[in-house]
């Protein structure tokens, strides 16, 4: 069913908080995982058990300190566990679906609450913008631009967001469709009939559904294609991957913040890469000189091999990179081709097997012949 949450004085956030309060008080969930304002101001993921703390919940704040799929995974991966409502963006929910396939999350006791996302700022930019105008929410302007002028988004939004062509997730039990109409007038919500009844919500006629995203998706796809074209010409030209990642300092932040990179010990941090002194010397002798730390390109190419099929383009990698490398654009550009090859879309369905974990007896029959 679909309903419209009443919004008073343009305070959509209060309406969303009201919905979340209903979920806690009706016992639909034991607790919520949602972005929260800490007592000192910045936004961070948090858990809420007592509805009184929902006054700190702010899932509309346009910032993504981390991809919450990882956290939702930790809270759901094993029994015993509680029933948890997770309030996340499309890229986080799609990553969560991928984590389910990698046995790092379980959807059974999770209630997925998707929020339409107009894009986010990186953490430092978000803090700066909020300090410049304390108390003034940043999300209304972003939704207005996304609807009225999608081709000219705020240039300070993360690039990953400006090229994100999946700003909404349609497979959650609850989806808060803030791109439908004017969120300051009313928030359209699509949810299961069972939940709608439980929360005592008034059904309304079906809205435009996915059509609410058409213009924005078209605009974002064009931006994405332009970024891919530019990056591909860098990768295929003189610069190459070596050039694009020349300033990589091997901090591994990109891997750490990536929701798909779930290994507790990355192979690059394991004994396998604990090289003997003479190995370094021999490699240097072979080539005459040798960049250190060793295996930088190998790290990025291997990470592509391990996660590119499940890359949802959230851009946490770029946000975390201290050398400001365009990690996300490179990985998305490679992922696009790779996902096309396997006709695979990460996050599309938790029933769909990961391409490298399955096979057909008769496929690519020309390979190896």
């Amino acid at each position: 069913m679909e309903t419209i949450l009443k919004v008073e004085k343009g305070d959509t956030l209060a309406a969303v908080r009201g919905l979340l309060k209903g979920l806690l008080e009706s016992g639909a969930v034991d607790l919520l995982l949602v972005a929260m304002r800490t007592p000192r101001g910045p936004v961070t993921p948090g858990m809420v058990v007592d509805p009184v703390h929902l006054s700190s919940a702010d899932p509309l704040a346009p910032v993504m300190p981390s991809n919450m799929a990882t956290l939702a995974g930790k809270l759901s991966v094993r029994q015993p566990r509680a029933k948890i409502g997770v309030v996340m963006r499309a890229c986080e929910l799609r990553a969560l679906v991928e984590l389910v396939k990698m046995q790092q999350a379980d959807l059974t006791d999770l209630l997925l609450i998707a929020v339409d996302c107009p894009g986010t700022y990186d953490v430092a930019t978000f803090v700066r913008k909020e300090s410049a105008q304390p108390g003034v929410p940043l999300w209304p302007g972003l939704f207005k631009t996304a609807s009225a002028a999608p081709d000219t988004p705020d240039a300070e939004l993360r690039l990953a967001c400006r090229m994100c062509e999946q700003p909404a997730y349609d497979q959650a039990q609850i989806s808060i469709q803030l791109f439908a109409g004017d969120p300051a007038q009313g928030a359209r919500v699509r949810l299961t009939d069972e939940l709608g009844e439980r929360l005592g919500l008034e059904p309304v006629g079906v809205g435009e559904g996915e059509k609410r995203l058409e213009k924005l998706v078209a605009s974002r796809s064009a931006q994405r294609d332009a970024e891919f074209a530019a990056m591909r010409s860098r990768l295929e030209g003189e610069e190459g991957l070596q050039g694009v990642f020349a300033a990589c300092i091997r901090c591994h932040n990109c891997m750490t913040v990536c929701p798909i990179c779930y290994c507790k010990t990355c192979v690059f941090k394991s004994a396998i890469f604990d090289h003997e002194p003479m190995q370094y010397v021999e490699w240097a002798r072979q080539k005459g000189a040798y960049r250190l730390p060793a295996d930088t390109l190998l790290f990025h190419l291997t990470r592509m091999n391990h996660m590119a099929l499940s890359c949802v383009g959230c851009g946490m990698c770029t946000q975390a990179c201290p050398a400001e490398l365009p990690v996300g654009v490179v990985f998305r550009a490679v992922s696009q081709r790779l996902q096309e090859t396997f006709e695979y879309q990460p996050g599309r369905s938790s029933e769909e097997a990961l391409p490298l974990v399955t096979f057909k007896a008769d496929e690519w029959s020309e390979v190896g012949a």
């Binding site: 490699w283 390109l297 790779l338 090859t341 007896a361 496929e363």
Partner: protein, 142 residues
């Protein structure tokens, strides 16, 4: 470019049950083939982690051969099917990242196909002599 004396170096990851045995048969049959291949034996082509292939490529190996049982004949039932998908994925990644993926070969060679092994090495060596050395040989900032 055999005029300038370039001898390609091929690193071959061969599965124990089929290709390695096939290579052995080439030897016992006294078949002649170029000495450019360096063989590494694994139990199955499905045990070839793409990271080995990448490491060899980035270190400057001119060609990399992965040899396994024909589809349907894997000693471990499914290893070669997975290897096939891994090779497809690896090549697509290299291509999309602007790298030359044509230096990586996957060939199904059974234990009885000694001559197919010899022919494969001949084919790859000839192809690499035309392609020239792997530019990664002199790329020290990888």
């Amino acid at each position: 470019m055999s005029e300038d004396g370039f001898e390609p170096r091929i690193i071959a990851f061969l599965c124990n049950w089929c290709t390695y045995t096939g290579a052995d048969l080439a030897g016992t049959s006294r078949l002649q083939y170029p000495p450019n291949v360096r063989i590494i034996r694994l139990m199955c082509s499905g045990a070839v982690d793409p990271i080995y292939v990448l490491k060899a490529d980035l270190a400057g190996a001119d060609g990399i051969l992965i040899g396994g049982c024909h589809p349907g004949d894997c000693h471990y039932q499914e290893g070669n099917y997975k290897a096939r998908r891994r090779v497809v994925a690896l090549k697509e990644i290299l291509k999309s990242a602007g790298f030359d993926e044509s230096r990586i070969w996957l060939r199904w060679i059974s234990a009885s196909e000694g001559s197919r092994f010899a022919e494969t090495v001949r084919e790859i060596t000839a192809s690499l002599k035309k392609m020239g050395p792997n530019p990664m040989k002199t790329e020290w900032a990888v």
